[in-house]
């Protein structure tokens, strides 16, 4: 699902323009990072001069006069260089982290406003990577990649300048090596980029194999295909090995080439420089400067090429992140609505009307944004306040569509939905959501305490209110069992609780928000009979007197409903009361009978 959507829209300038706004607040930090970095390089370039000075003035002349001031200046330069580099590095860190932080926050905030179709089209893992790792990599390159270029370019140009100044003929001779090195290094690096991608791809496949080998262990054993699986795995690891070795070939060539070209430069200096020095046209000290530069000039080329090739990789991250930020919500409040009721982050609650609970679907047509088929065509349904609507059908039949429309997680393609006689689009999404209690099939709890989870529904809930809500759904024993009362941690995703307990807490959470409309997606997972009974009672309690829409699996819930909608293939094929539908002996009848026998088996031992 994720890969096929990767249609790259190549952004100009590696997409760096899109990052610009995130850099703006740190302009000063970036300037000081670059300026101090440049200062550091100037001093780095000057460094060999000290040794040269020592050679020329002390060693050659055989005197130690001026050693004291020399040491003082040398030491001073060292302190300056170290300080400049230290502060520059610290600034670079700041830029990396702050830019990453801001982008992460912007991405996260934007996600809070995106409609559900985005979440349906992209897996959680994919979205997560956009917010977490893309932003990290972009921040990393913006700071360190840029500094890498600044340091190495300035160092390279610095030493070239000094060499030209000291002896332009020799400098020119050495410089001939630079283009050759650049071309070679760039060639090897390109090869490595391609192979590097392949290696990462195989690597994720290997992880996939482990995953398959572990989750499919039972099947592998029953089919006795351990050896076959092993062979497939070994083929993959062999491919990984050979690709990595292939890549190592280019990396090794790359490194060898860089250091060989540095040695070539040294050989040239020794030969031509030696001749010039022997003629007395150059000091030995100057010769030593040339030798250090010759040895040090190729490495910056290596780093610059690496930083630039990193940029090619980061471009992908920038493009993905930009695509997330440029995805507009398909469900958006109109400016007038925002004006009156506020947006999701800053609601204007003083203008909110209370909600009574009449719901009406008026001539609603709907098609999922990524689907081709019309799900609803001219569907109308009146649900007066207090009505219980049960939606039934096979797993995967598309029972949640109606609920998604009601909650305005999607907009109908035609017609309208009225709440208390007013189009839901005339009110803000937050207003609607604040009045609908929504309990999903797989209860989602957040890591934190029980109280924190309950307060999710009502931030200012008192302990008494929470207790009352928990009692109402017969869940008050859970905090006691957990040992730490309402402050007991529930673990990541509520892992420290059983499925039934999670369900009860999510019920209590919904009760606490005291909504006028209830939406309940009943769980299908099997739980023990005692909890099952509790959940049934809790359901009944919650729905009483409220308008409710239940995606129902339990017979008791279904039978009690005022209206039953039977869904198949995403479409509503039958509607009516339980008795009406039973008499019709259609799809609902068949479903009901099967459900009956399943429940009979389940409760046989109760």
């Amino acid at each position: 699902m994720d890969e096929k959507k990767e249609t790259y829209t190549k952004l100009p300038w590696f997409g760096l323009g899109k990052v610009g706004p995130y850099l703006a607040p740190y302009r000063r930090k970036m300037i000081s990072m670059v300026v101090l970095g440049l200062l550091g390089t100037v001093l780095d370039v000057g460094n060999p001069m000290f040794f040269s000075y020592a050679l020329t003035h002390f060693v050659e002349r055989g005197t130690l006069v001026g050693l004291g001031p020399f040491v003082a200046v040398y030491l001073g330069a060292i302190v300056l260089v170290v300080l400049a580099n230290c502060i520059s590095a610290y600034r670079t860190c700041e830029v990396e982290l702050y830019v990453g932080r801001d982008m992460r926050q912007a991405g996260f905030d934007h996600l809070q406003t995106l409609s559900f179709s985005y979440y349906n089209q992209n897996s959680v893992g994919y979205i997560h990577a956009r917010v977490m790792s893309d932003t990290d990599r972009i921040g990393g390159w913006i700071a360190w990649g840029i500094m890498e270029c600044v340091w190495n370019f300035s160092y390279l140009f610095g030493i070239i300048g000094v060499m030209l100044f000291l002896n332009w003929r020799m400098a020119a001779l050495i410089l001939t090596l630079v283009p050759v090195t650049v071309v070679l290094a760039a060639y090897f690096q390109t090869k490595m980029i391609v192979l590097g991608r392949k290696v990462r791809e195989i690597n994720s496949r290997i992880t996939g194999h482990y995953n398959e080998g572990i989750t499919g262990a039972k099947t592998i054993k029953t089919l006795v295909i351990e050896d076959k699986m092993q062979r497939t795995f070994e083929e993959e690891t062999e491919l990984m090995r050979s690709t990595s070795v292939h890549m190592a070939h280019f990396r090794s060539l790359f490194l060898s080439a860089i250091s060989f070209s540095a040695s070539c430069a040294l050989a040239l200096v020794l030969w031509r420089g030696g001749v010039i020095t022997a003629r007395g046209a150059m000091e030995i000290g100057t010769l030593s400067v040339f030798m250090s530069y010759a040895l040090g000039m190729m490495e910056p080329i290596q780093w610059i090429i690496r930083a630039l090739s990193e940029l090619v990789n980061v471009q992908v991250n920038i493009e993905r992140f930009t695509r997330l930020m440029e995805t507009a919500s398909e469900v958006a409040d109109t400016p007038e609505v925002v004006e009156k009721y506020g947006d999701s982050f800053c609601p204007k609650k003083e203008n909110w009307e209370p909600l009574y609970g009449d719901v009406e679907f008026q001539d609603v047509s709907f098609r999922y944004p990524d689907g081709e088929e019309m799900i609803f065509e001219h569907f109308s349904l009146k649900v007066p306040q207090g009505t219980n609507v049960a939606i039934v059908g096979e797993t995967g039949a598309g029972k949640s569509t109606l609920v998604n429309l009601l909650c305005r997680f999607f907009e109908p393609t035609g017609g309208r939905i009225l709440v208390d006689g007013k189009d839901v689009r005339d009110r803000s999404q937050l207003w609607l959501h604040s009045h609908i209690g929504y309990v999903i099939q797989t209860p989602h709890l957040f890591s934190g305490s029980i109280a924190e989870n309950l307060r999710y529904a009502k931030p200012d809930a008192t302990l008494e209110e929470m207790k009352a809500a928990m009692q109402a759904v017969a869940a008050d024993s859970i905090p006691k069992r957990m040992g730490n009362g309402y402050d007991s941690q529930v673990g990541e995703g509520g892992d420290l609780l059983s499925t039934g307990e999670k369900q009860l807490i999510s019920f209590a959470r919904a009760v606490l928000s005291d909504p006028r409309i209830f939406v309940l997606d009943e769980a299908t997972s099997s739980i023990d009979t005692v909890t099952e009974k509790k959940i049934q009672d809790a359901t009944e309690m919650m729905l009483k007197g409220r308008t409710s829409f239940v995606i129902a699996h339990r017979l008791s819930t279904i039978r009690r409903a005022d209206v039953i909608l039977m869904v198949d293939n995403g479409k509503i094929i039958e509607r009516g009361t339980h008795t009406e539908l039973m008499n019709r002996k259609g799809a609902y009848y068949r479903l009901y009978m099967r459900q009956c026998s399943l429940e009979a088996v389940k409760t046989a031992e109760a």
Binding site: F50, A54, L55, F58, G62, T63, V71, I78, C86, A89, Y90, C93, L97, R101, R104, F108, Q112, Y119, H128, V131, G208, Y210, E212, I214, A217, K218, T219, K221, T222, L223, V224, I225, K228, R241, V245, A248, H249, S252, S256, S259, L270, G274, T277, A278, I284, L287, F345, C346, G396, I440, F446, E492, R509, S513, S526, M593, C596, A600, V601, E605
Partner: protein, 600 residues
Amino acid sequence: MEMKSEKPMSKMAMLNLFLKGSKVLFVIAILSSALVSALEAVTPQIIRVVVDYCLDGHPESVPGFVQRWLNSLGGRDFVLRHLYLAGAAVLVIAAGQAVFRYLNQYMNTRATEKMVKTARDLLYAHIERLPFSWHMKNQTGDIIQRCTSDMNTVRMFVSEQLVQVIRIVITMAFSLVMMLLMSPRLTLVVLFSVPFLCVFSFVFYQKVGHYFLECEENEGVLSAMAQENLTGVRVVRAFGRENFERERFGKQNRKYTDVWMKLCRILALYWASGDFLTEVQILTIVVVGSILCVNGQMSAGELIAFVSYNRQLIWPVRRLGRMLSDMSKAGVSMDRLLYILNSPAEEWPGSEEPSMEGDICFDHVTFGYEGEEVLSDVSLTIPGGSTLGILGSTGSGKTTLMHLLNGLYNPDKGEISISGVPIRNISLPWLRRHVGIVLQEPFLFSRTLLENITIAAETDRRKVDEAVRIAALDESVERFAKGYDTVVGERGVTLSGGQKQRTAIARMLVQDSPVMIFDDSLSAVDAETDEKIRHALRKVMGEKTVILISHRVATLMEADQIIVLENHRIAQQGTHRELLNQPGLYRRIYEIQNPEGGDV
């Protein structure tokens, strides 16, 4: 399950195992790097000779044999006239260095990748052969974590740390020897500073370890927060808590950034002080060297060479401290891998290969899992070629009974035999190959449909077509654009529950095993297709021993014998007719499923 009590493997033994077939490569890599270092030590000597012999006019400071050789060639004038020879010498050495540097890098990767492959294969093979109970106990994510990130730590330990440390030590040795030969006094300065720099970085990385951990932990919290927000997006929207989420994430985002900033500050200071110490050390050498030169105890050429050696030495030394510190962390990862490798593999004594067409006997079989009783005292005979139906509630032990039959579990008490041979005496592959089972929630591999169906038995296309037809999968196959070549599973098309079940049925059918088990394997297909499949199956069942587990009486009623499992025991046993005539679960369910009271 009985386990052979083997002595657990040690870390050394494990590394040794991983390094099988790559040791020679590592040795070549290390030898090449030694040669690189050796050659690296030569170049400064050439420079020294050129400077001292030709340029600075101190030929006496050049070693005797070199002096004599150069004198014999024609002395200073000759060398000056042919100075390109010095350049050529540097080039020749550089060429040698380039070759060995390439060899070192290349061989090191070759060795590392070979080792990683060996280790990965070993881990995978072992995981496949661990008993089913082990798989039930351990979480997939955790095991994958061990196989990937811990594996990577071990790889870094060997290829980066172990090999590099050896390399650095060799380089140091060469440089130090050359330095000593030229000026023992100046070498003292180096000898004094080297351990200091090394210890400095070692201690630093030991000390900041917990800062790195703190950063990682905070990153984990932040990442989990984003994950929770995304998976719980419905809850967030339903309660209108976008603003709360934003602030919560913002708070942790800032905290995470601040923790990193703290670490950055420390790191920046560390780099700065490291740089400072290095530069001061170089300054000391330049100053002391100059004094020695002025006093005539050293020549300019020697000082230039000495400074080069010092530069060659100083960076590796600074890295050495960090590496030694990182190496101390590899032990934890090795232990995590050993946890997998030291878990005893599935052990099965049997080697007999009897006919599998005879009676299957459960003789007073009792089995519990983690202290909880799952089956107690089950006795049952399934005559060869007959069909057994099993009805029972969730958790009554139906599936476990089947897992006992194909050796995924071992009974705590009692014995299971096929054709009179206790299954513990039968070879395990033989047993499993002849007992085909379709699991309730079948697992498909991310391969093509055809590969999935023929994964356990290579067979011709005609048989596949036949199996697919019986499993009523033919229409689905036709509907896929790529037909049999459609990739399914994690990386391919997502099949519906019913399609998965039908694929699994086809997969078992091509195996053509004499015992076939259907563990509620039609639960996700509609009643009509269920009927169609059963009808088609009836023809191939023929001689085979079949076990059907289902909630649908219609599925079970034609079985030769039906058992009802309740409370971990066989509560009822008999034919459809017999069970209908007695009160109990079977009749109750029959009545619910057939409200008119007529035959199905």
